[in-house]
Each structure stands twice: as structure tokens, then as C-alpha cells.
Amino acid sequence: MNQTPYRLVVGLEVHVQLSTETKLFCGCSTTFGAPPNTQVCPVCLGLPGSLPVLNEKAVQLAIRTGLALNCKIAEVTKWDRKNYFYPDLPKGYQISQFDQPICGEGYLDFPDPDAPETTQRVRLIRAHLEEDAGKSMHDEVHGRADSKIDLNRTGTPLLEIVSFPDLTSAAAAKAYLTELRLLLTYLGVSDCNMQEGSLRADANVNLHIPVDGNDIATPIVEVKNLNSFRAVERAIQYEAGRQFELWKQTGKTIKDAPKQTRGWDDEAGVTKAQREKEESADYRYFPDPDLVPLRVTEAMLSQQKVVLGESPSAARNRLQVNLGLKPYDADVIVSQGQSMVAYFDGVVAGGADPKRSSNWIQQDVMRTLKENDLSVEQFPISAARLSELLRAIDASVVDNTRGKSIFQYLLEHDATIPDAMAALGIVQVDSSEIETLCKELIDENPKVIAEARAGNAKALGSLIGAARKKNANADAKVVRELLQKMIDAM
């Protein structure tokens, strides 16, 4: 790590769109991409006389997430109005949770980007439910034409997950987000699609600079408009440099300036000051009289505990400890998602060696998926079938090279391993045949044999090719071993 003259301090606020069919307080669809203002009703338009009713699924998904993030789940949680004026917020307030969020303090451990075999912990302050606002489109060119408002998104359920400022580098912030997204997809609570805005992150960034034995803190900056994990990483790096330069020039500390909001400009690679909203801090929160409090019962908690499933970190651990994979290999499989872990488990459950299974999945399976833009659910070779193939290799019925041919064949044909072998003309060669073959090779290649006897280990390589020309089914490894044995005995 580069030594910097300061310590970077970062906290993240992550908004996650929960995977419900309908909005948080009304029955309108949450589907992305519908024509503007076609998924709206009196409730989400904020028409007078309409009343919100809470979506139980959103509560369930929030509880599930809270449990997975080790949060204290509130026994009683309530709804508050956060008041501000903006055209994409038709009611003039957002229904959110102020002092009694559904999920209290928790934490998440994530792989340390500087030492991948260990983890870092980020503590979480809270996670609360709230409704999303609509979308505004502005006249970017002239700023004179009317702004267009689409309220389809208004009222979509969000879970806002707020971390403590425990992150100490841009890479750590990215690693935390990566683990959070993976966990949320394992839990099935969100699709976490950043392009569609299902996962949005804001970063609070400042520096602690040691001066004469004391830490001086720079003013906190909230960076918005981070549309990718890469943007999060770059924006934090940029902010660190900018704040340090600014501190050197002005000496301003956290005591001299209020929190500032800056927007990330991805193209320019800089953060830009955003116009301060007047009195923006004063949201005049108060309990929403239209909504009654929610009591979280034991039954609601246990219902979610049952469906939590295995977390990514538990899966990594199991693949390493129980199945002997290297941390890197376990992480590659786990990062592909729950279905890939299930596929791997299926291959191993069929009796194939875990390490060989891991290699084949990472190389052949994942490459095929990528080349054909398939998900593992769509993969033509079932876990049981791949397991059968790998067992055949484990048992030296076929060698690795012939195994790859069988794999290619299975991509196109639904066949058993013996049928695939028959179709490809692969037969297991018995040992007497191999012996005859090796004798022939030795007789025909006195020069190579002399070199091999003189200690040139590479010399035998040319004979393997020759052996396969004589008999394509000859196992290279077996031929090499037998040749060596015969030469050693000469």
C-alpha cells in the first residue's frame, strides 16, 4: 500500500431496491422501463384523500436483509414523513423511517482487498425502509425548457443501508459494496442492477491528517451520483487527493465548514460542488399519521431465518475448509452466484474430486457460459453428467485431453459418458496394448532414447506425440510413465 500523509475515512449509504411486485404503499407495479406515468395511482401520485397501506413483502425482505447483516431488528418500527419540495416528490414528503428504523446496528465482513485471505469488518448504523422518488429529466442543453417528470418509480420500496465510517480506502469501499451486492443477490431481496438504479451508493468522505501528534479532520463531503462500483472507487480516490490539496491551501477543518454535497462526473473524473439546497438539513420529520406502527413478531423473524440460506462468506468457508479449495478458487465460484455454487456442489456430490471440479468449472464451464452468454441454469451439461465425466478422468478411464473432447461433445449432445466415448471413437486402451506401443517407440527412436537416457527429460515429449499418432486413445500420462520405466530398466 502507498503511504499517504493522511488516513482516509469513508462511510457508505447504499439504497437497495427490494424485489417486490408492487410499491411500498400501493399496488402499482415496480417493473422497470414501462412508458412514463403508466404505473401510478392516487396513492403514489399523492392525490388528496388517498391512503397508503404497507406492503408486507417489503417488510419481509427488509427483515431478511437485516438478519443477514447481523442487525438488531426492531420490535416496533414506525413511519415518518421527511418533508422537502421537489417536483419528483408529489406528496411534498417522502415516507421514511427516522428514529425507529426496522434494522438497527449490524455489521458485514468482506474480503480484505489488500489481503484476500482475511476479512475486514464494516459496522452498520442502521437499515431503514423508505419510498423512492420519481424521475426528473431536465433540459440539459439550455436549461430553459420544462422539466419532465415520470412518477413510475415513485413509491418503489428501498432499503437504505448506512455504514459507520469504517472504510479506510477506496478499494475497501468497493470490496464492501461487492460483498454487499453478492449477499443481497444470495438473499434474493434485490436484483442489485446498477444500470436500472436498483443499487445506488453515496459516499461520505474525509481525511484525518496527523499534525504534531494530533489528528486534524477535513470537512466531510458527501459524494453523489456514483453509478458503478468503479465510480465509487475513483470518486473516493479523487476526493482524498482533492481534500488533501485543499487542506494544504486553506487549512480548513471539519470545524470550519459544514458537510458539503458534491456530484461525481464520471467522464471528467472529478467531483463537482452541488448547489446547496436552502435549509436542506431541516426535513421536519414527524410520524406519518396515515400509517400505524409495525410490530415485528417472533413469527416474522423465524419465517425469514428459515429462508436465509447460505451466505457468500459461509459458502467460501465451506468450499475451503470442507472441500479443500484454495481461497482464490472458492471465491471465484462463490462470486458467480448461488446457482454456480449449487452446480459445483452437484458435481462434487456426484463423486468427482472437488479440486478437479473447481478447475473444470472455472475453465471449461465458465468459459462456455461467457462465450455463449448463458447462465449456469441454461448450461447444457448437468452437474451429474459433468461429475460422471470427471470421475472417469479421476479413474484414468479417459485422460484430460480426451475428457475435453467429451465435454465438447456433451455441449451438443445429451449423452452418457460411455455413449459419448463410443460416438467419439474413444476406447480405453488396455495396458498390454500400451506396452506393445512403447516397445515399438523405443525400437523406432534410438536417438531420442539415447538422449533420454543421458538425462534430457524433454526428449520423451516427442515420443508422446508419436504414440498418439499410433493410437489416439493412448493416455499420454500412462505412456510417459511406462516409457520412463522401460528406459530406466535398460
Binding site: C28, N37, T38, L45, N55, E56, K57, K148, I149, R275
Partner: protein, 95 residues
């Protein structure tokens, strides 16, 4: 409760209300009346009474996550002061 001129101006500005000088005293006096009315609640001894987030003792009212029909597009836009038949239109907002 003492309410300063600044307090009232701040609440007005948060509510996007522009108070003319002539209106100010009328609003201020009404404002103080409302506060004084609510202040009467302070006379009640609430020691040992659990805080309530809602005046009625009802909780956990939910609905299932089932689609309901949205408004027809034309109907949704029909109350808008301005629309282009697709979007609600509002005066230019920058940033």
C-alpha cells in the same frame, strides 16, 4: 413558548410561503395561538406512560404484494397543470 420572527420566517420559507409584511403579524399571531393551544398538553402528567407513535392503538396493518390496476395514463395526467401527454411538465429545474 417564545416564537421569534426568525422562527416564523424559517417555517414559512420551509413551507415555500412568502409572507408580505402586512400578512406577517396576522400569521404570527395565529401561529402563536396554535402553539399555545397545543402547549396545554404539557399540563398532563405523563410520567410512566409509554410513548405512542400513533393516537390509535392499532399496529401492523399490511397488504399482500399483489398487483392492482394503475390509473389510465390519460387519467393520471388529467389533473396536471401542464403535461405533454406523456410526462408531467414543471418549470425548469436545474441540478
Amino acid at each position: 413558548m417564545n416564537v421569534s420572527r426568525e422562527d416564523i420566517l424559517k417555517v414559512a420559507s420551509l413551507s415555500k410561503l412568502e409572507l408580505a409584511e402586512a400578512e406577517f403579524e396576522v400569521v404570527a399571531s395565529k401561529f402563536r395561538n396554535v402553539l399555545a393551544f397545543v402547549e396545554q398538553l404539557n399540563e398532563v402528567d405523563t410520567t410512566g406512560v409509554e410513548e405512542m407513535a400513533h393516537p390509535v392503538d392499532v399496529h401492523t396493518v399490511t397488504r399482500s404484494d399483489t398487483l392492482q390496476e394503475s390509473l389510465d395514463h390519460d387519467v393520471a395526467l388529467s389533473n396536471a397543470p401542464k403535461s405533454d401527454g406523456e410526462f408531467f411538465l414543471v418549470p425548469p429545474v436545474l441540478g
